[in-house]
Amino acid sequence: MILGAGALLLAAVLAIVILLPVGAIKLVRRSERRLNWQPNDDGRPDSEASPTQPHEVSAYLDRLTSTLSLPAADAAEVRAELADHIADSIESLEAEGLDREKAIRESLARLGSPTELGDQIRAAHQSTRRLLAGAGGGIFAAGGGFVIGYFTGFAIAIGVFLLGAACVGLLSLAGVRLFILEENQNSLINSLLIPTAFIFAAAYATRYAVRVCAGLSRRAPRSVAVFWASTSAIVFGIWAIFGLSGPMSWPAVVAYLCVPIVAFTAAFFRIERPLLHVSRNAVLAGIGGFLIVILGAGLLFAATGSAESGNTTLTTIAIAHTQGPTRGSLPPDAPAEWVPQGSIMGGGVRMADTGGDLYSAITDQQAPVSMATALTNWHDLRFEAWHWIVSSGPNDAFGADTRYSSPAVTLPAEVHPTWIQAIFHLDHLRDQGPWEVILTGIGPDGQRYEIADCGGGMNTQFHGSVWDWITAPL
């Protein structure tokens, strides 16, 4: 049963990753034969190149063509056909005895106003059936273009990252250190990968949709571009701001906010020009290589991650320091006489199911007393998350970050018979970095004291959508 579901899922993924882009590319190329037609592409005459065409006829055809608003191939075909029709008509009227000037005037008069005829021909070409085909084809092509753009963007982002890493490595060898890459570089790179891929995906989807829709519905690309630009900007904009959740940073937020702008612009920017195409084999080789990398990474992750799935204990890395931690604005330690020695211990655990961090304090397991007894002297108990400095060496400063005079987050303690707890979502804070969580309470003298240290020290990174980021507390 599970195998069957897995096979179905794999088939669906393969269909999306391979068949959708291949189908979209075929549709785009078919449409581009209509959109980017050049004279004599398919053996039909080029009416504009005829030296014997009377001036009146050329002027008539120019006015008619300007009202057509059809793809280049259709407009050229209509012009060539009408030029042929008029030339034959003139010849026929001359054979009936009219002089050439009268024959030209009569032939053009029989066709009526060039703008009215152009409108009629355009209406004949742009039928409702073709419009529906264009809309359907545009949506399909947008799906394929999205997949192609996503892989392209991801590959470019990875390529830029590797290039940047190589440059940084070379500069480091030369003794140059780049300040911007010294802090949180992994978090920043992580947060930028998806928006970069998404920007390319939105742009490709929009351009594919415009080209295919124009070709199938027999409309000039710019006449359908307004619809696709608006639709793409709204759909991809909402998706980027509310629908995508992952590592977030200010550059990533800016990149995500660029998605609707890029999607809108992509519908118009040089849209008359053919899209860049790479060969089918190159696309398939790229997709195959990407799948192998993803599969390899997945297997590696499964092999290394399975042993430590579930909850993760949050503790500060133990380093033998030559000096004590800085306390900054932390509340003072509770006097020993108000806390039964060893009766309260703090700890933290990352909850795999909720994504939150559970911090708790328990009474001593060796000599259990009820939490109510242990905390007789205390009220207004709460857990506080403080910015923390984690040292990498025994001589480095560590402890509370002295730049902050108050905790970043405080949560009231949930009191249970033998433990108290609070669940933090530190990955929903824009301010990243290590944290330390302590249990505090108001003692008998009315002062707030630290009752227990619950640990922490883990580096956090914001996880959520752009909207979560914008609305998150500072």
Binding site: D84, S89, L117
Partner: protein
Amino acid sequence: MSPEPLAAERHRVLGALADDSLTSLAVARRLGAVPAERDHRLLIPALHGLEADGRLTANWQPGADGLPHRTYRKR
């Protein structure tokens, strides 16, 4: 322009084509017997509309003069 004259023209064009493969002017000549001074302003839109609807096929074929002409044929 109201759609009725165009619909009527489409009907006449289909009747004029029979099973032949004709250029737009040849179609006009077949229809021209009705009014001598017949105008062609509905002819091309009717032909293109029938082609868009799948009732006709159109191809560029060399004529007697050796030049390519667009000819229409019933499906």
